[in-house]
């Protein structure tokens, strides 16, 4: 339980930090972090979280390579919604 809380909090912090800096500032370092979180989530058998994290990392990668897709924002908010629901159910 403690570990689940930990990972949701970490991802939440990452999301908040990204919102402060802006998605335009997404860097390769951020993507590495995302992949690391995804690995951690997989270890905890949080498959959906893992999928969302990887997906955001993939679209982020594409954006860095110059694709002008707006799916990065969509994926970003989907991840945020997941974290929101997870932390709501954890505090219950």
């Amino acid at each position: 339980m403690q570990e689940i809380r930990q990972i949701t909090d970490t991802v939440q912090d990452w999301l908040n930090g990204m919102m402060l800096r802006g998605l335009n500032q997404l860097s390769p370092g951020d993507l590495n972090q995302l992949r690391a979180y995804a690995e951690r989530a997989a270890q905890l058998h949080m498959d959906e979280l893992c999928r969302l994290l990887n997906q955001l990392a993939d679209t982020g990668q594409a954006a860095l390579l110059g694709s002008e897709d707006r799916t990065i924002i969509s994926d970003y908010f989907r991840l945020s919604a997941y974290i929101q629901m997870a932390s709501a159910s954890l505090t219950e």
Partner: protein, 570 residues
Amino acid sequence: MQPFPVRFRQFIHECTEDYLIRYANKGLYNRALKDMEKGITAEYTWTGQEQVQCILSDGTVCTLVDTLDQSACSCPSDKICRHILLGILYAQRHSTPVMQEEEQTEGREQEQHSPDFSKESGQSEAEFKWMMEIPLGELLRSYTTVQLAEMDFRLSIKETIHVTTDTLLTVSMESQQIEVSFTREPDLSKALCNVRDNASRIALYKLEAILRYRALKGLEEQQLLEESSYSVPTSSSVMTECLKLLTDISNTGLARLPQTVIARLETLAITARNEEFPNLERTLRSIRGELELFFARHIRFDMNALMNRLTETYLMLEVWEQELTASQRAQLVGSFRSRYYERVQLQLYALGAEPWETRSGYRGITYYLYCPEDGEMYTYTDARPVYYEGNTFRYDAQYTGRSPWRASLSMKQLAAGQWNFRHIRINRDRRISAAESTKIDMVERVPVEQIDFGHYRVEDPEFIHKQTEVVLFGEKKPRILLLTLTSVQHTVFDPSSQQLLIHATLQSGHQVTLVVPYHQEWQQTIRKLEKTNPDQMSRDMTVLVRADGQYLYPISFLKGTSIRHLKLDE
């Protein structure tokens, strides 16, 4: 459209005895016939403006058109008069130049088609096939979404209808005492209604009658009607604008965000209000509020709260772009306030009154009333915000105070009786409005044991939690239930949870525990309950409880014709 002379002749033929009597009345119709027998004649002339001038031999001048509503007369009566009837009847019975057509053949053909105006037996419903065949969309076209929402509500009320067929097909709705007669011609506006009301109400009654008739004949249209009763906002420019703004905010990042974004948010919120997107307006304003705190480096700024708002709004906008049904769209759009509709008559049986207080600063009393006719529970809530200084809500004062519907009647009396409400206004959640136009009469209270409470009465405690409504993304609604207690075992105050527990046996033999949480205002009641010896408590009581989560909170105890509200009656 056919030329006026043809339409006029058709109209004259359609004015059957039944139609004229229903539109006017029997007396007027007979007087017109008598006048004709006395020898009054009529002369017709085309006036060219889609009218026929009819001069009666007694000097009266009528102007006839192809509907009864718009026909006029020189006599002082402002409604239909015998002169107009005479004008129509005379044209039917005498061959006048107006009725004779240039194209004779067509005329005869029509005469064969339109049945004779004299009484004809053996009329069949087959001639009113149009009532079943006309597409729903066409029927609903001339109604506004507000009217359709009301129609959807009205159709959800049970009603017995009778259908009679003569030269008209009459649908009578028993409890409302409304009769609507349809003509053979597929035109809803030509239908007649027996109540005098304003035009939009009449139009509503006509629609209700035809829809109930169609339902009786097996057409299932409730779902379709429900869908069309939501206004679907077509313009989504404000949605696109919002999406753009949110994209800008998240791409730029809060740290580099210019303060002008506040103005953009406010403008969008105003647009959202004007275009009637209440939910969008609310969330835009709250994002604006959070951002203002952020710019002011305010201690109350909460990054997570802002993230939640942004996420919610973004996902809502994304969903909006997908294929949705009208009711789903309406759910996204939200509503400013719920609508109340009038019901002609409703008999209600008082079951309980419960005082409450919320953390957000509201106090109130909710009254539960049961309608044996439709087997549903209705509520009336008297509530006040108490977060302003000097605003108070005293339960006893409100409870003994006057009811909104009749000054001489207190809420306390109301909560112990059985009542006949007339012109009562209720909303979809069966809440009763405090509208003053509602009239209320007392009915002798029936013992509670004689009333069938349907699914509200529960015998098996296992059943209580199973039936709890599941609402996705919403809070679980507490359920109101009736239990029959054969006896109370013992009452005990549990100091650790600060609750009084009443252990009792149900009629079915099951054990239940009723919970009364301690509160200073109810300490006397609790003390009294605690001290009472269970053996002295009456047996075979009915108790109204609120089932919330795992707990059963008693509201009132009922036996025979008496009722005791736990927290309000000392």
